[in-house]
């Protein structure tokens, strides 16, 4: 494929440089010096056949004997007092097995659980919901954060609607501003986004005496287990959570859901397994969202672009839940001695927020990176040069500890070359005509170092078959495949030779699959277990072959003497020498102290803005990421493609709309909540800077889940700015906003 050739071309020079360093005896990490056969290549998913034949079983697809179906009655009002609930009619409907109350007193958002039914079919359960009589006393509500902040606004919780939740400072911002040659202040807004996973949330609960088993569409079997145990007042040891295939999470399937607890309660009450599948509407209302933000940044720089002072104030709204801490990129990524941050949550009568792919960083990056472009323009600087000028090698703007590895400058080089950065309008909006092209870029920082203590077992059977067992989840990132790849690489096998068992709390512990931590947690644990297994097998082979174990190599399904490859024993024959099936325990190491572990990237976008219709077309995106070692290039590319598509979607279309007067969501579906379709997708070129982190873990790998989602909306907004000369400062950048901005520009000029 042509695309790969280009990528390899670009990286060749960099790898050449690393090899040169190695030849000169300079510091190149041990992990980098290994030549891998499988790791780092494009490996198709080992379970692809199941997915494309429809045999992959998602929670939606599971059915247990004697199973009942549950539905939940949800509050239709944003704010009300439940006066009374009458379940009797619903209880009398034939086919209904249980009806339970879930709420008394105050309901605080549309979609809050009120009561639930378990019946012999979904349709009967739905009918029964209509027979539950609830008397509500409707109370005043507030659904917009700007109104929630007003004095005398209806109070959402028992405390004030506005709550400070984050404060940060270093240096002296006033002194900094006094030293600056240019100071500007701008405000940026982002809308509430809904995760809208393809598979709506679903759970099945089944009791065997006092033991509960739950099949859940989740990103986090262990945290669901612990959450259920807490909610039901039973020990975690009595709960088992299983995840099979899962149709998208993006953060909305982290932690236990209320409806899962409800299913468990109904299962207990009826003595039968209970399945609950949420509707698209429920998924819009009550399983989370990305909080909106209203971020004001004031920044000052010296003539040459050196940043001297940055302040940020964020009002963020996550409904009845928390807003997102969005200041991390501003605090961390650029060199700046004086910084001050204040962040406030504004509570409203809307569904609670939940982590949404790169929570806070997405919104904070949209604001920060937009601000930098406006500052660069104000100062007559190249936006990319402004970023290079303030490049830092330590976190917290050079005031903290050094990054263990940081390949961002390489991302800038590769991205600028590939997009043709010189083609940009030197002055934003200088182009003419109805269709204006523009280029924009944005930088990215994220954590994603992985969770120390993650466990994985490798079991070698005496017939030579191999299992990897780990309680992690494959949420669509190809986890099963890289587990097989890492084990196979280490043991000299093919990925197909490895049976992967994941997604079950009876397996060794692994963290939630969120925050880009799965790969850098799980892959090193598997590698550790596989290295231990390899050591044992080497000893067995050494005895068979009569050569020192230190000379034994595992490759091509054999163990052989590296000095005399003809002297070999097959993997299978070596395994026969095991006394019994053998389990090797692997663990992800602790992170060495004294370093900051972050991933980096830069997106370069080209857009075309139609100045007559206000429509923005994203033409091309070059996405360069530094995530340490890439384990599987094929699935890594998919991560990048997906992050960009979601970010383009958020930049142009996505917004939860709530009617101010009724407090109800008006687009709780996929028709009126607009998401990007196949027609809206730019040409996407993912590039990886293969910089192997020397100490993060035994594979030198960082996480990639969040990074590609972070800078894209900002890069698109900056490209629009470059095209039309006015920064929209608000996503989604719908045509009406573009036209209004263009009008405003005409008036002011």
């Amino acid at each position: 494929m042509k695309k790969h050739e280009i990528i390899d071309d670009l990286n060749a020079a960099y790898l050449e440089e690393a090899r040169g360093k190695k030849a000169q005896g300079k510091d190149v990490p041990a992990a980098a010096s290994e030549d891998f056969k499988l790791i780092g290549r494009a490996t198709p998913r080992i379970d692809g056949r199941l997915i494309v034949t429809g045999k992959a079983r998602f929670t939606h697809d599971l059915s247990l004997k004697n199973m009942l179906h549950a539905k939940i009655l949800r509050a239709p009002y944003a704010s009300a007092e439940i006066v009374s609930i009458d379940l009797s009619q619903a209880q009398n409907l034939p086919g209904v097995r249980a009806v339970i109350k879930l709420k008394e007193g105050r309901v605080r958002y549309e979609g809050e659980q009120v009561a639930a039914v378990a019946a012999i079919s979904e349709k009967i359960a739905e009918e029964a919901l209509q027979l539950i009589k609830v008397d509500y006393k409707i109370l005043p509500h507030v659904v917009r954060p700007e109104k929630g902040m007003e004095e005398g606004a209806p109070q959402v919780h028992d405390s004030a609607n506005v709550e400070k939740f984050n404060e940060y400072g270093r240096g002296n911002v006033d002194k900094g501003f006094a030293e600056a040659d240019t100071v500007i202040e701008r405000t940026y807004k982002t809308a509430v986004e809904i995760h809208h996973t393809a598979e709506t949330h679903a759970s099945i609960a089944k009791w065997d005496e006092d033991r509960l088993t739950v099949w859940d569409s989740t990103q986090a079997v262990f945290s669901v287990r612990d959450g259920l145990a807490r909610a039901l007042g039973i020990p975690a040891s009595k709960v088992r959570v299983i995840k099979t295939y899962m149709g998208g999470g993006f953060g909305s399937k982290l932690g236990v859901n209320e409806h899962t607890v409800t299913a468990a309660r109904l299962a207990k009450e009826t003595g039968r397994p209970v399945k609950i599948v949420l509707s698209r509407r429920e998924n819009s209302l009550c399983v989370g969202n990305r909080p909106s933000t209203f971020i004001t940044i004031k920044g000052g720089a010296k003539k040459d672009g050196t940043l001297v002072s940055l302040t940020m104030k964020n009002y963020t709204c996550g409904g009845v839940g928390r807003g997102d801490r969005s200041s991390e990129p501003l605090i961390d990524i650029y060199k700046c001695p004086n910084v001050k941050v204040e962040e406030y949550t504004v509570y409203t009568n809307t569904g609670a927020s939940r982590p949404t792919r790169a929570p806070g960083h997405v919104q904070g990056t949209f604001a920060l990176e937009g601000f930098l472009d406006e500052l660069a323009n104000e100062m007559g600087l190249d936006p990319l040069e402004l970023r290079r000028k303030n490049y830092s090698s330590a976190n917290q703007g050079e005031t903290g500890i050094p990054y263990s590895s940081k390949g961002l400058s390489r991302c800038y080089d590769l991205g600028a070359a590939k997009i043709g950065w010189d083609r940009r309008n030197k002055k934003p909006g200088e182009g003419r005509g109805n269709k204006r092209r523009g280029l924009g870029m944005a930088s990215q920082i994220w954590w994603g170092a992985g969770a120390p203590g993650t466990l994985a077992d490798i079991k070698i059977h005496r017939d030579g078959s191999v299992e990897v067992i780990c309680g992690t989840q494959d949420i669509g990132c190809g986890t099963r495949t890289y587990i097989a790849t890492v084990a196979a690489e280490t043991l000299g096998l093919d990925p197909e030779d490895v049976t992967v068992k994941i997604g079950d709390t009876v397996y060794p512990w692994a963290p939630s699959s969120g925050g880009s931590q799965t790969t850098p947690s799980v892959a090193p644990a598997v590698r550790d277990a596989a290295l231990k297994a390899a050591e044992r097998l080497k000893l067995l082979a050494a005895a068979i072959l009569n050569v020192p174990a230190s000379r034994i190599v595992l490759a091509d399904k054999k163990l052989f003497d590296k000095d005399n490859p003809g002297v070999s024993v097959s993997f299978q024959d070596a395994a026969k020498e095991l006394r019994r099936e053998a389990v090797f325990h692997g663990e992800r190491n602790d992170l060495p102290a004294g370093f900051a572990y972050n991933s980096f990237g830069a997106h370069f976008a080209e857009v075309e803005v139609d100045t007559e219709t206000g429509q923005i077309g994203v033409i091309k995106v070059v996405a360069v990421h530094e995530v340490g070692r890439v384990i599987n290039r094929l699935t890594a590319e998919s991560q990048v493609v997906g992050g960009i598509t979601q970010g383009v979607s958020a930049a142009l279309f996505e917004e939860r709309l709530i009617d101010d007067s009724t407090g109800q969501m008006v687009n709780p579906n996929l028709q009126n909540y607009k998401v990007a379709t196949p027609m809206d997708i730019p040409e996407i070129l993912p590039i990886f800077v293969d910089l192997v982190d020397p100490r993060i873990n035994n594979l030198g790998t960082k996480g990639l889940g969040e990074p590609p989602r972070i800078p894209i909306s900002a890069a698109v907004a900056n490209a629009v700015y470059n095209a039309i000369g006015v920064h929209l400062r608000e996503i989604p950048m719908t045509p009406d906003k573009v036209l209004k901005a263009l009008q405003g520009k005409e008036v002011s000029s």
Partner: protein, 209 residues
């Protein structure tokens, strides 16, 4: 409902359907159900007796002739998933917005969540489970694996069915033609550009073979 216009073998009318079910009072009651409004509670439980009037439909599903009772409110999607246990076809939005439930009906892609089950009489339905010939995958399926044309895999059956429908009519689709043919399918993981590569690869392989 149907993504592509097509000639229907039999013209269906609601009146004819109600007549077929016995007409009269039952017809009136059914009509109200039919329009999505609730009926009075059913007198008997589903576990022991039918809840609503049913109609027997006979059709071909993945090469197999099936004959079963359906309720007027049942969709093809529900019949496939619940009665035939063909769970490869997914319920994603349940209102024709996302293409996740796409199946082929006499070769045409339809959103099975909007398709009344009783209308499937005499037709041929192909689902994701019916594409492979034994162990041999359809070229579109193989290309989705090779090009990683999926992430979570939930929307994949729908995309594959839409892609198969496209390639059965157009063996040399351009990128805009691929995008248009797939425009009724949503992939929330956002893997569209990988899916295009898969479809393009499949079309090349199908031309060669």
């Amino acid at each position: 409902m149907e993504k592509m216009s097509k000639k229907r073998k039999k013209i269906f009318s609601r009146r004819a359907f109600l007549k077929g079910l016995g007409g009269g009072a039952a017809g009136t009651a059914l009509a109200s159900k039919f329009l999505g409004r609730g009926l009075a509670s059913p007198s008997q439980e589903k576990e022991t007796a039918p809840v609503y009037s049913q109609k027997t439909v006979t059709f071909t599903a993945n090469g197999r002739t099936v004959s079963l009772e359906v309720e007027p409110r049942e969709t093809l999607l529900e019949v496939l998933r619940q009665k035939l246990k063909l769970t490869g076809t997914k319920k994603t939005c349940d209102r024709g917005e996302c293409g996740g439930c796409t199946v082929l009906l006499d070769g045409q892609p339809v959103n099975s969540c909007l398709y009344p089950a009783f209308r499937v009489e005499g037709k041929t339905v192909t689902t994701i489970e019916g594409l492979a010939k034994g162990e041999e995958l359809h070229p579109v399926q193989q290309a989705f694996i090779d090009k990683d044309g999926y992430q979570c895999g939930f929307c994949t059956p729908g995309f594959i069915m839409s892609s198969v429908a496209l390639l059965s009519k157009n063996q040399t689709p351009t990128l805009p033609e691929i995008k248009t043919a797939l425009s009724g399918n949503l992939c929330r993981c956002g893997n569209y550009s990988k899916i295009y590569e898969a479809v393009k690869t499949a079309s090349e392989r199908m031309r060669k073979s």
